[in-house]
């Protein structure tokens, strides 16, 4: 890629920052050069975030209806999934799955609850609550 061909499409995710790429100058030499956004990257980043938002909204609706645990909502809201939640808490996956069943959360021990709260970066008492909107 030539230096002047580096896309500069002002990705909103970069919030005014730019990242560094390596590209070729007009003498054929590689130089580091900034890039403030590229369509391809922006699409796939939006897509990855939208997927977590979709999962969180879906969990929010089911939790509202009592068909899912509020913990599931908080998990997706923090861009995690079952595998990641098990890895970060150090709990077995099958036990996390069990804790994610509706009605299981209020029965958790304080220690277990605080581990979830810690890895989700959410106060322990917030885990039972849902915001007004997802």
């Amino acid at each position: 890629m030539k230096k002047e061909e580096i896309p500069q499409q002002n990705a909103k995710a970069f919030m005014g920052h730019s990242k560094l790429l390596y590209a070729v100058d007009d003498q054929g030499r590689y130089v580091p050069a900034p890039c403030n956004g590229w369509e391809a990257e922006e699409i796939v980043l939006d897509q990855a975030i939208a997927e977590y938002v979709r999962l969180a909204e879906d969990a929010w609706r089911r939790a509202k209806a009592g068909a899912a645990s509020t913990l599931e909502y908080h998990m997706y809201r923090q861009r995690m999934d079952l595998t990641l939640l098990a890895q970060t808490t150090g709990f077995f996956k099958w036990r996390v799955r069990r804790d994610l069943r509706p009605g299981a959360l209020p029965k958790l021990s304080a220690a277990r609850r605080s581990r979830y709260a810690d890895v989700l970066g959410t106060p322990a008492e917030e885990l039972d609550r849902l915001p007004d909107r997802p």
Partner: protein, 338 residues
């Protein structure tokens, strides 16, 4: 404010933005200690470039596509090849990890630390994902803020003590366990030419001579086959998969085209050091492969967003082209330095 509770420490450190966090941190630390080294040179000598398809490692339910060696490889192999000794510390207790970091700063030492990218408060929110092998340099502390030179960010940044501690002690795959590091001994004379040769032999061998279907150019061909055979019924998943491939290639601090441009830049530098003009030509060829990777990424992204009809065969053909071209590049490169 109580001065002893909030002492200010600033160790002079030159912030230079880089494409990739690990090669950026290590080249920055070496420069700080008097060994001038560009980021591409650090990346190339460590033999950081690779390709691997690891379907058994899932991230958000999607398989891992790696365009480089695993985290930690750059620092480990760069320092090993150059005879540099690193001091590495991990901690069981987060509070102890923070105290140790403060001690190093007080003693005038800048240190590299490994963190999760998710809990770093200065990261733009949309860029925060649970990835545990980010690297950055801490060069000071002011009040309850650490002063940070994050190699992938264009400016100097700050992060609250609490947030950095959480980021350094995130758990899960590749958990940093508070890892901090700095060079302890750098030989007065490093043999860069020998290290370059060794690393090129390693890289080219790994990319073309390992008879495993998930590594090197064989890995690219395997992925091409998988993409061609994606079930058209599963459009939502297929889009996520393609998007994930593009993110691994472009967005995760690769310097463009999945580290291919970074490595081509290394080859240019190596050509002068080894006095082998043939490498300049090979760097050009690798640049052309990188351009093809970028075209693949743009097509795949457009297909994700329905700006282009989903055409798995087209993408698979592009991947095969990348594999064929890369195979040629690595073979000629190996012959050149042998």
């Amino acid at each position: 404010m109580n001065d002893s509770a909030h002492p200010e420490v600033v160790v002079p450190y030159e912030h230079r933005q880089s494409a990739h966090c690990e090669s950026g941190v290590i080249s920055g630390l070496l420069r700080h200690h008097g060994l001038e080294m560009s980021e591409p040179m650090a990346f190339g000598v460590s033999a950081g470039i690779a390709y691997a398809y690891l379907p058994f490692l899932k991230f958000g339910g999607l398989p891992l596509f790696a365009y480089r060696m695993p985290p930690g490889h750059v620092i480990r192999w760069l320092t090993r090849r150059l005879g540099i000794r690193m001091r590495m510390q991990k901690f069981r207790d987060p509070a102890e990890g923070t105290r140790a970091l403060d001690r190093h700063l007080k003693e005038g030492r800048v240190v590299g630390v490994q963190t999760s990218a998710y809990w770093l408060s200065y990261f733009p929110p949309d860029m925060r994902f649970h990835f545990n092998a980010h690297n950055l340099v801490v060069y000071g502390k002011r009040g309850d803020q650490y002063l940070i030179s994050d190699p992938v960010i264009d400016i100097l940044v700050e992060c609250e003590v609490e947030a950095l501690q959480k980021a350094r002690f995130a758990r899960g795959v590749l958990a940093p366990k508070g890892l901090l590091y700095y060079p302890e001994y750098i030989p007065p004379k490093v043999d860069l030419r020998r290290a370059i040769r060794q690393s090129i032999l390693f890289t080219t061998g790994m990319m073309t001579r390992v008879p495993l279907g998930f590594m090197g150019v064989r890995g690219i061909r395997t992925v091409a086959r998988k993409v061609r055979r994606l079930d058209p019924q599963n459009e939502h998943y297929n889009r996520l998969l393609l998007g994930h491939m593009v993110r691994m290639q472009e967005e995760i601090g690769t310097g463009g085209a999945g580290f291919r441009f970074l490595y081509a830049s290394f080859l240019q530098e190596a050509a002068a050091l080894l006095d082998k003009p043939g490498l300049v030509k090979i760097a050009e060829e690798l640049t052309a492969v990188g351009d093809e990777w970028r075209r693949f990424a743009l097509n795949a992204a457009k297909m994700c967003k329905n700006r282009m009809a989903l055409d798995y065969a087209l993408l698979a053909d592009q991947l095969l082209l990348c594999a064929d071209q890369e195979e040629g590049v690595y073979r000629r490169l190996r012959a050149e330095v042998k």
